[in-house]
Structure formats: structure tokens, C-alpha cells
Amino acid sequence: MRLALSVLLAAPLLAQDFSHRGFLETRVTLYPQTTRGDSGRAVGDALLRYEPSYKASTALQFAASFEARTDTHQQVERRWDPSWQDRSRRRPAFAVRRLSATYHRGRFTAEAGKQFIRWGKADIVTPTDRFAPRDFLAVVDNDFLAITAARVAYETRSDSLELVWAPRFTPSRIPLLHQRWAPLPQDLPADLELRDAGARFPGGSQFGARWNHIASGFEWALSFYEGFNHLPLFDARLLSFAPPRVEVERFYPRLRMYGADAAWPLRWLTLKGEAAYFTSRTLQADEYLLYVVQLERQAGEWFFVGGYAGEAVTASRTTLGFSPERGFAKAFVGRAGYTIDPNRSLALEAAIRQNGEGSWTRIEYSQAFGQHWRVTAAFALIRGSPADFLGQFRRNSHAAIALRHSF
């Protein structure tokens, strides 16, 4: 890491092969309703992201991404020591978001370090995307986290084989226990005191392989993953009856995935499908099939994606867990976008549970000003029953406005 960092910091001296980009964004999110344990109605965030890259030779290049952030709602750490592991409950104030070296020769590519690895072809729910933990502090408005891994890819004209080994586990960041996005049952006693007992992180490594085939007019991939679920299950321990005190500890079950995904452009629409079957040696973990079938089309200035995300549980064992990807299953999902002109766009996203128990709808308007500025305004409406994954967040409908300066 130090070597890569020093190369990157020295890179501006060799400016021709050095490039960078970044942005500074401030965002205000307004919640009309309060929730249990969270009376805040306004959350302010500021994020600075800087992404330098340096091409040392035609074969070797380095890429990095650094973040500094703060907020008004204690979702960001107040300590400024840099974070590499992304294992903290709160977002780090300063983080090395990405730092990797890529070596490329002929058909062979290898990347090592902290990097983003994305698998799958579907859009809203991606069951095979196992090396992509996310920041779920605000469940419906999430961002990807990089992982520390080595990735090797060998590519021919129509096939590519990708092998990934991640020596250290990176979990998804889940909602904070005493804030509005915490997925707590509604019937908890009012005087119950919940205590976060931290997490038991698994010690082993993770491995994955993906073979992608590009045929004339369509493509498909098969994937395999052996490791741990980046989404946690919970162990709850009763500390005392009166007053009632419960301690909650996160743990990450073992996971094996057999996955497949495909994209098939038809005459009028593109059909995309993605499915993964998950098994586990952890006794508390479910075994299940998660799948998505979606159709998409661009027409004029419009972009449409619509489909269904389904789930079939083959072994039900979990009592307490947090899984947005399964929470969005058994639902109709869709996204539509309209480009008004080169500077303005509108987007609509929605997920509606097939039993009607929960729904999430988000509408967004975005406008650029000049070469550097963009304003984005969004409104998210969440409805449903308290027992539903989406419905439990029904008091978290919100409006947000963000101002971004890109450089």
C-alpha cells in the first residue's frame, strides 16, 4: 500500500501520465416524520472525493480514490485517522476508497489492492454481485464499497475468465442502531434498551470465478463464489429483564454461490436475467435462490427498465438478519429516465412488493450548470406495512437536494 501510495503522490511530477478527477458534494436530506429513537428531521452531508490515477507504463497503472466527509447526524466518524478496511459502523471521516495496481499484458490483466469488482448484468437487484458490499446507512440510497483483493482476468475475443481472491473480508455497512434506518421490529417494548455489541468478522479469505461469453448478439456468464455474506445476521442476548436490556452482535455467515447471468437483445427490447443459488455451512443462514428477470429499452430520450425480482427459500433458518437484496425480492422493480437536454434529466425508480405490503418510489431531477456544477433534487416515498422489509421504513420518506462541484 505504501509503495502504491508513494507512486501516486509522486505521479504529478510526471504529469503526462497522471490524471485525476473528483468532486465536492453537499447534500441536505429532509424527513417529514420522526422515528423511534431518532427525532432528527434534517441531515446534512459533505463529501470530498479525489481520484488520481497514474500510468507507469503501457502495462502498469495505479488508481486511487480518497474521501473526506462529515455530516450533522453522527453517521460519520469524528476521528480523522484514515480508514482502509471499511469495517466501522459509521462512515470514516477520511478513507482510502480505492488503491490498486493493474498490470496488463496481452490478454492477461491482473489488479491487486483495494478495488471495485462488479459482477452481473441486472440493475436494481444483482444476486451474483458478491464482491460488492455496500454502504446501507440509508437503506434505499446506498453506495458501493471497495474490497481488498487480487483479480486476474484472461480474455479472448469472445470469452473472459475472471478469478478473484479476497484475503480480508469487507462487510456492508448497515443502518446505525439508534437511527431512523435501523430495521427494528415495531412491537418492541418502549423501555427496551438496545446495545450494539459490535461484530464478529470472519477470518478466512474469499474466492470467486466468473466466465463470461460474448456471442453474436447476446452474452452470458457463469459465476461461483465461496466466502462470506457481506450482509450480517444478528445474535441477540438478553442482558436483563428489568429494565429490559438486549445486546445485539453482528456476524457474517459462510456463503457459497452458484450464479448465472445473461443479456439477450431482442428486436424491441433487451432481456436480462440473473440468478444465484446460495448455500451455507452456517447453521443460522438460509439457503435460497434469488433471481431477476428484466426488460430494458431506450427510445428517443427515454430509458426504461422493468422486471421482477424473485426468491425461493430452500432452507429457512434465519431469525434475525439484515438483507436489502432479499428485501427487494418478491417485488416488481422498475426504472425510467428521460434526458430533457444535455444538461437536464429526470429519473423515476420504484419497487413494489407483489403482495402490496411495501413500496418504494423515487423521483429525481438533475441539472448541470456549466462544466462543473450540478444540482440534484430527489423525493422518495416509502409505504407499506411494518412487517414488510420496505414497509418498515414507511416513516423514512424524504426529500433531498445535493449540490456537486466536479473537478
Binding site: 500510468k55 460474448i214 443479456a263 437483445p265 462544466q371 466536479s406
Partner: protein, 256 residues
């Protein structure tokens, strides 16, 4: 002076001014146009100005690398400005017998997305070029017809009509093409949907670069939206060392 000598003199004069040309049927003109612009590879920067119906200008910049020519070429086009689209890239793999394959890489979500054929009528990143306009038009994918002659900016041109063959999926029903007689450069493309002219591409500022007559200014007009995009090519070089492995989906991920 004999009649035979006069005819011979006239023949020599004409062909000193205009070199010997192949038979002037439409496919031959197109083939000659492609032959003269053929290069093993090229790279250039591009400055795009999108001018909307109200006259507002948006500027973008990209860098283009191309390996091969007509039919079997591969192109990677990568935005370098403005900052919010920097790194967005498009890979176009052209085929001699069918429509191209295209993938777009979006760094913000670290994913590539295949652009389906039916989606290629969509404007490319807010410009007046559609995804289809960014692929090459190989002579074998169209039925060409010579309609006559005309002039563009005072330069004598052949006027041809191209209609896509069955295997070529195109948003356009036909294209009218003007090719200059003096240097075989296509200087105007008029694209029709049924009988309606929808997009016009004018090419100008033609310079001879490394022996190839090359238009430096491309102006695409979307007649329905009343908007236009001006593309100026800069730092153009032919025959640059490029490798086949730099034009793959994996290569899209490797930002320069």
C-alpha cells in the same frame, strides 16, 4: 495536327488533372473512398460542442483510439471532460457482415453495459450523434446507388444513396452521401427515416494528414430537435502503435 494526336493530348491533360479513376459506379466510389482513408490505426482528441435549439452550448471532450479500418475495426472512445463524465467510455467492435457490438463503461458504478441494437437510435451522451452514428459504415452493409452529381461548398461531388442490407439493422431507411471528386472524401451525409430527413452530417476543414485526406470538423444536425453538435478533431495521428488487447471489454475498465 492529326485527329489522333488531339484526342491523345486531351486524354493526357484530363488525367494529369484528375488521376485515372476506377469505373464510376456507386460501390466503386465508396470502395475507393474507403481505400483512401484506410489506416492500420489512429488516435485523436475531439472537442464536442452541443448547441441546443435555444443556442446554449455544452462542451465535452473525448479521446478516440481506433484499430483497423472499415468492417473489422475496433474503437474506444473515452470522455476526458467535463469532469462529471470523465472516464465514461464506449467500445465499438465493427463487423463486416452485421451491425457492430457496443459496450459502455461507467466508472461511477464500475460496470459495463452492452448497448443493444434497438437502443442505438438513442443520442450518445446528450450529443446529436446516436450510438449508431459512431459505428463505421462498411461498403458491404449497404446497397449503394449513384444518383448524380452536385456540389458541397463549391466542390464537385458525387451524390449517392445507401440503403442498409437485410443483415444491417439501422434506424435510418436511407442515407444520401456526397463524396468529393477531387479527394474522395465524404463531406455530407443526410440520414432519412422513411422519406423524412432526420439528421445531417457535414464534414469540412479537410486536411491531408500522413497522406490521408481527413475532415477535421464534423457537424451533426438533429433536424427534429433543431440542435447540432460540432466535433473538432485535434492531435490526429494515423499508424500509432495499438494492440488488439486494448480493445476489449476488460480494456474498457483500464482508464488511461
Amino acid at each position: 495536327m492529326s485527329r489522333r494526336f488531339l484526342v491523345l493530348s486531351a486524354f493526357i491533360c484530363v488525367h494529369l488533372r484528375f488521376p485515372l479513376l476506377p469505373a464510376q459506379d456507386a460501390p466503386a466510389i465508396i470502395e475507393e473512398t474507403q481505400r483512401r482513408s484506410r489506416a492500420p490505426s489512429r488516435r485523436n482528441d475531439g472537442v464536442l460542442q452541443v448547441i441546443d435549439a435555444r443556442g446554449r452550448i455544452t462542451e465535452k471532450r473525448w479521446q478516440v483510439h481506433q484499430l483497423g479500418s472499415y468492417g473489422n475495426s475496433k474503437t474506444i472512445l473515452r470522455f476526458t471532460a467535463p469532469p462529471e463524465v470523465k472516464g465514461v467510455a464506449l467500445l465499438v467492435v465493427n463487423h463486416p457482415d452485421r451491425s457492430s457490438d457496443q459496450w459502455m463503461w461507467t466508472p461511477a458504478i464500475a460496470r459495463e453495459r452492452r448497448i443493444a441494437i434497438q437502443d442505438r437510435a438513442t443520442r450518445f451522451f446528450g450529443t446529436d450523434f446516436t450510438f449508431e452514428d459512431l459505428e463505421e459504415r462498411d461498403v458491404g452493409q449497404f446497397d449503394w446507388k449513384l444518383l448524380g452529381e452536385g456540389a458541397v461548398d463549391g466542390a464537385p461531388c458525387w451524390r449517392l444513396e445507401g440503403r442498409p442490407k437485410e443483415k444491417k439493422v439501422s434506424q435510418y431507411t436511407s442515407t444520401l452521401l456526397w463524396i468529393r471528386k477531387d479527394n474522395y472524401v465524404g463531406v455530407r451525409y443526410e440520414n432519412y427515416k422513411k422519406d423524412q430527413l432526420v439528421r445531417r452530417l457535414n464534414l469540412s476543414d479537410i486536411e491531408r494528414i500522413q497522406g490521408i485526406w481527413t475532415p477535421r470538423r464534423w457537424e451533426m444536425s438533429d433536424l427534429a430537435r433543431n440542435s447540432r453538435t460540432i466535433l473538432r478533431t485535434e492531435n490526429l495521428q494515423y499508424n500509432v502503435p495499438l494492440k488488439d488487447a486494448d480493445f476489449t471489454v476488460q480494456a474498457l475498465r483500464r482508464e488511461p
